[in-house]
């Protein structure tokens, strides 16, 4: 009995000690309300667009022709990035599907179509915990992502970790520095007045420290995504999140 209690304590303890916070928890009540009401969250416009694109035959085939209803994607986005010959972000997976199975052209990063498709796929995992994929190839990818996260860069000579690990919860100008967990991508950012991917956000941060942003789809950005999703492992997905 005591052993069982101990085992339970070990299971429960990390959860109790978890001081990770989604950006949702530190934003204002009005922005929280905007995210939580599906009739007021503008990100749902992209989800609806994605539902229409899911069944549209691009090239010879639609997504639905292979996968069936988009609900079959439940849980999928919570595992990404994955490894399939190479590290693969959700955007890259969709484009690989397009080129190899649909006979369609790849969609550009941040195009409204790709944002709509990633939004509808990730939306199926809303509320599910982020579950980093168990593929052993991803270990090295995440380690590289963590190295990049801790590497100083740009004219301001700042690493991601200096803001989002060391100083999270403090203020930078009028903003609270979030811990930087990618729990709701693609997100509707008020600053963007639209939807954007995690890679857009990462490039945005690089611009802020006056660094040359990594290219969309680059190994560096996918490695950072893989590290950040593992760092947020267990936290629920919120797509489409709203952020200031």
């Amino acid at each position: 009995m005591r052993r069982l209690a101990l085992a339970l304590a070990l299971v429960v303890l990390p959860a109790e000690a978890d001081d990770r916070r989604s950006g949702f928890d530190v934003m204002g009540p009005d922005t929280q309300a905007m995210q939580q009401d599906d009739t007021a969250n503008p990100g749902i416009l992209w989800v609806r667009d994605g539902e229409a694109l899911w069944t549209r035959a691009d090239g010879g085939k639609s997504c639905a022709a292979c996968h069936g209803a988009v609900e079959s994607m439940r849980g999928a986005a919570a595992r990404y990035p994955v490894f399939d010959g190479a590290p693969l972000s959700l955007e890259q997976r969709i484009n690989r599907c397009r080129t190899t199975h649909q006979g369609a052209t790849p969609l550009a990063y941040e195009s409204q179509e790709l944002l709509a498709l990633t939004a509808v796929v990730a939306h199926q995992s809303r509320g599910l915990p982020i579950t980093p994929d168990a593929d052993p190839h991803l270990g090295a990818v995440r380690a590289e992502g963590e190295r990049l996260f801790r590497q100083r860069q740009g004219q301001l000579d700042l690493a991601c970790s200096q803001c989002h690990d060391d100083n999270a919860g403090k203020r930078l100008a009028g903003n609270l520095i979030p811990q930087g967990h990618p729990t709701g991508y693609p997100v509707y950012r008020l600053e963007w007045q639209g939807m954007g991917s995690l890679q857009r956000r990462l490039r945005n941060c690089q611009g802020a420290v006056r660094a040359e942003p990594y290219a969309y789809g680059s190994a560096e950005l996918v490695a950072l995504e893989a590290y950040l999703m593992a760092r947020a492992g267990g936290m629920p997905l919120e797509t489409p999140a709203v952020r200031p």
Partner: protein, 106 residues
């Protein structure tokens, strides 16, 4: 073709006031924002929104560039009889986008 989200209760008791919420995808380009080359992007906004209930206007909004992108509006109407709510958004190009929703009054 803009995407819209419309929230109207399906069924409402006669005589009660119900809430209508609408969201439409639109950049609401102000005309005051420069593009990458420094030139001002031309103004492109939805300037008029009208809601009719069985053909009769119940709410109208004139919108200006100060309205946020992807305009959201919520307002109310009295449930008089079952029928159709129609929503019309008109932009600077003169394009009118229309959506409808059915309502049952009990």
């Amino acid at each position: 073709m803009p995407r819209t989200l419309i929230n109207v209760p399906q069924s409402v008791p006669r005589g009660t006031v119900f809430e209508i919420k609408t969201l439409v995808s639109h950049p609401m380009e102000t005309g005051f924002r420069p593009d990458e080359s420094g030139r001002l992007r031309p103004r492109d906004i939805i300037h008029t929104f009208v809601c009719t209930y069985n053909g009769e206007e119940v709410f109208r909004a004139e919108l200006f560039p100060a309205i946020a992108a992807n305009p959201f509006l919520s307002f109310t109407a009295v449930a008089t009889e079952s029928g159709e709510l129609a929503f019309h958004w008109t932009d600077d190009h003169g394009a009118i986008h229309t959506e409808t929703a059915r309502i049952t009054v009990t």
